[in-house]
Every structure is written in C-alpha cells, then in structure tokens.
C-alpha cells in the first residue's frame, strides 16, 4: 500500500508491512490483519497472540490502476486487489510480477516483498508486502 506519514509511524508498522505480522484470538480462533488491540468478538474474554501470516491467498476482487498516486508513478497500469488470506482476513495490496489482464477473481497469490514507495530521491525507501501469482510465482 502507498505509504504516508512520518518516519516513526512507518517504522512502527514494519512487522506488519515487512512480514505480514498480525494476531489471533486464542479464545474464538479469529485471525486479524492488521493486528487488533482487542478481539471484537470476545472483548475482555479474548486473548490475542502474535501470528505471522503464511502469505498464501486468493484474489477476491481487484481494480486496475491507471492513474497512480505520485509515489507509485511509472508503475501503472497495476493491479490493486482484495486478497483473502488463507487464515481468513482480507488485505488490500498490489499484485506484482503480472500483466493486469492475467489477474482474475480467484487467482491464487503468494506474498512478495517489494519497494512500495520512496519519499523522493534522497528519502526513505518504504518496503512492504505485495502479492504475486502463485503459478509461475
């Protein structure tokens, strides 16, 4: 996803952006990404533990972006998709390493680690998750 905001904010999200770290409620078995502070189902009875998602998922819906935000200029056209992770949560992310016409609803994808954006020529490079087709990765 496009990165916005300050360096401390970006940095705090490294675990989720870099390696899909979310959490799981041990009480009801629900997985969360991004991680939640409280399980909405169990409230005080919930018990959240760290979970690193496998990164395997399926495209549930997608759009082809032709007019990107400034920090992703040059990468258009690209596919922005809702990816259903195998553990349950849905993540909005770019599908890379693919021609847009080859992405379909139901396309199986796997986690990819990519440059998401850059804060100008001399600024920080923001890395994070994208997805890539599982077939022919």
């Amino acid at each position: 996803m496009a990165e916005q905001g300050s360096i401390p904010l970006i940095w705090r999200r490294y675990p989720q952006r870099y390696r899909l770290e979310g959490n799981k409620c041990e009480n009801c078995g629900t997985y969360f990404f991004p991680p939640r502070l409280v399980c909405p189902n169990c409230r005080r009875r919930g018990s959240l533990t760290k979970h690193v998602f496998s990164g395997k998922g399926v495209v549930e819906s997608y759009t082809v972006v032709h007019v990107p935000p400034d920090e992703m200029a040059g990468q258009e056209p690209y596919v922005l998709a809702l990816v259903r992770l195998e553990e349950g949560p849905v993540v909005t992310a770019v599908v890379t390493d693919v021609d847009p016409e080859d992405v379909k609803i139901g396309t199986r994808v796997r986690l990819a680690f990519r440059r998401i954006s850059e804060q100008g020529e001399s600024g920080l490079v923001c890395y994070g998750y994208k997805f890539a087709p599982e077939k022919g990765f």
Binding site: P15, Y18, E21, A112, F113, R114, R115, Y127, F137
Partner: protein, 347 residues
C-alpha cells in the same frame, strides 16, 4: 574439515529479460558477435518495485522454507551486494527484519564486487564452526548496471541467492575452502559515480583467471582432491565464456559446468552469480555428489568451496521454487522499457 554445512538455500531472479539483439540494435552492434563471443543470449532486468534488498528477502525466504528452522534462530545476517539501495544504512537489517530474525543477532553488509556473496556465506561458516552462533544467513544479491552502450550492458543483470549455514540437518557439508586475494585494479566505481569503469582487456588473465584458477587449485591441493572427483563445478560467470575456459584449464569437462552456468540466460548477477549457480546445482544434485564452487570479485579475489551433498537434499529440495523455475518465468522487454525499469532516464 569443517562441521558447518548448508541447511537451506534459496534463489530469486526477477521476471523481466532483455535480449542481446535488443541492446545491440540500439547501439548498432552485431548481436551474433556478442552472442558467440561472450556466450550470452539475454539477461534479467529487475521490476520497478525491486532492488537488491527485495531480491535478498525473496531468496532468504526461500532458504528459510528449505531450512525449516524458526527465523529467530538465525544469529547472523550478512548481505553481499555492490548495488545496495542506500549508500549509508545497512541492507542486512532490512532483510533480517523482513524474515523475522531480529533483534538478538548480528548483521552487516559486505562489498567485494561479485565476491561479496560467497564472502557472506564464508563468514557464516566461520561463526557457526566456532560455535559463536547456531545458524547464519549469507546472501549475495545485486541489480547491477552497465553504462549505456558499454560492453557490460549486455551482461550486468539482477538476481540473488541465500544460504543458511548450521550444524544440524545439513543438506550439504562444506568440506573445504580456500580464498585467494590480491590488490588488482580491474574494475571500480567511485562514490557518486553512477556506472563502474573497467580495465577492458585487463579483466581476463591477470584478474578473473588468475584468481579463479589459483583458488580452485588451492582448495584441491589443500583438501587432497583431483579435478575428476567433482560431479559439478560452478565458477563466477561474468559472461558465458569465462567459466567454461576456467574449467578447461582445470581439466574439468564442460558437462559438469553447464548445470550451474546461468549467465547465458540471465546474465551476470554479480554477488548472486556463483551462489545462484550453486543453487541450480543443488536443485539437481544427488546424495554424495561433490561440488566445486569458486567465486570471483574484481579488485580482486576468489573464494573456493568444496561441498558434499547429503541424503537430506531429497527432502528439502522441493520446499521452495527451483532456479530453473525462475529462469523460465520471463517477460521480454524492449530497450525503451528497459531504460524505464532501470531508471536510466532522468526526468
């Protein structure tokens, strides 16, 4: 004899390719002369969202899948590259954070032209062998560039490989090593300069061949091996021709070099080259097979390793994509698209 071995390995090659013909067309050169003279057909090109760090992470994740260990057990991460995204700020910390090995560990970037990858692996071998750490991750990864129109433009490419070193459950044992280093000015790039310079004809005999042959002969003499003992040999591959010439001079037949010779189809992946070749050999080698792997880095030096494959290769091999799968996954680009992908166009 070392006790450290390879417990996991992983490769990564970007999806895009540009053919020698396409580059030659732009510069009015004869593509057949380049294809024949250098044994190069096409080279890999990174996507706009890729760099040496993203390549290192993808290769390291594949290595972790094969190692089957928890990333917190990795006590050292070394990333060898001559194309890091930052001039100041380590790549190794980004890789370590992305695979989940932080924070109780050591990390550093290494730079030695195309030799930094094998050096990263050797550092891990030393630390594991001495008992300082249980597991170490050594990566070689590059997105190298040649000056437009320079001979290097036909070969400088992108890719990487990662090796996890440990003592338990090794899929291959590192039986012997030998490094050979001198100060040789065959290739350089100064701070702030975009493209490297090289000593043209100086790069062959006194540079590549002297170091590759000295290290290869050295490791054989040190460990008591003869050329016929090896089932496979991998040499640094700045083009498709040099490794075959080196093998010939060592008395190693071409057939033993071809399985690990990737430069004709993906170009020279610099710090990734020898390690990717070794990964391609591990993708097909059987238990008991003996491999010679010798890198070369301008400036100059070579690391030679003798590697014996164990029974565990069979159970680990299919746990991550093979080099051949990355090599055959490809989309060709025009020179214009290549210029955009490589950010050679200043806007």
């Amino acid at each position: 004899m070392l006790v450290a071995g390879i417990v996991g390995y992983g490769a990564y090659v970007p999806r895009y390719r540009i053919k020698v013909e396409e580059i030659a067309r732009v510069w009015n050169k004869d593509p057949e002369a380049i294809k024949k003279g250098l044994n190069l057909l096409e080279k890999s090109v990174p996507g706009l969202d890729e760099d040496s760090v993203t390549i290192a992470v993808e290769a390291s994740r594949n290595a972790l899948s094969r190692a089957g260990i928890s990333p917190e057990k990795i006590g050292a991460v070394f990333v060898g590259s001559e194309s890091p995204p930052y001039a100041v700020k380590p790549s190794a910390t980004i890789v370590a954070e992305a695979i989940g090995s932080v924070p109780v560990m050591m990390a550093a970037d290494l730079e030695f032209a195309c030799k930094a990858g094998t050096q990263a692996v050797l550092n891990c071998i030393g630390l594991v062998d001495s008992g300082m750490i249980d597991y170490g991750l050594g990566v070689g990864s590059d997105t190298s560039q040649g000056r437009p129109g320079d001979a290097l433009e036909y070969s400088a490419s992108a890719g990487g490989a990662a090796f996890i070193i440990g003592k338990k459950d090794a899929l291959a044992e590192v039986e012997e090593f030998y490094s050979y280093t001198t100060d040789t000015p065959d290739f350089w790039r100064k701070e702030g300069q975009e493209y490297p310079r090289h000593g043209a004809r100086f790069t062959g005999r006194p540079a590549y061949f002297k170091h590759v042959l000295s290290a290869s002969k050295g490791v054989m003499e040190k460990g008591g091996y003869s050329p016929s003992d090896f089932d496979y040999a991998v040499f640094h591959q700045p083009n498709g021709k040099f490794p075959l010439l080196a093998a010939k001079q060592l008395g190693i037949p071409k057939e033993k070099v071809l399985p690990g010779l990737l430069s004709p189809v993906i170009g020279n992946t610099y710090s990734g080259a020898t390690l990717l070749g070794l990964a391609a050999v591990l993708d097909r080698a059987g238990p008991g097979d003996l491999i010679l792997a010798t890198s070369y880095g301008s400036g100059a030096g070579s690391d030679a390793m003798v590697i014996r494959v164990t029974d565990r290769i069979e159970e680990k091999r299919d746990k991550a994509p093979k080099v051949e799968e990355y090599v055959s996954r490809k989309k060709h680009v025009t020179y214009g698209e290549y210029v955009k992908l490589r950010r050679k166009l200043k806007v």
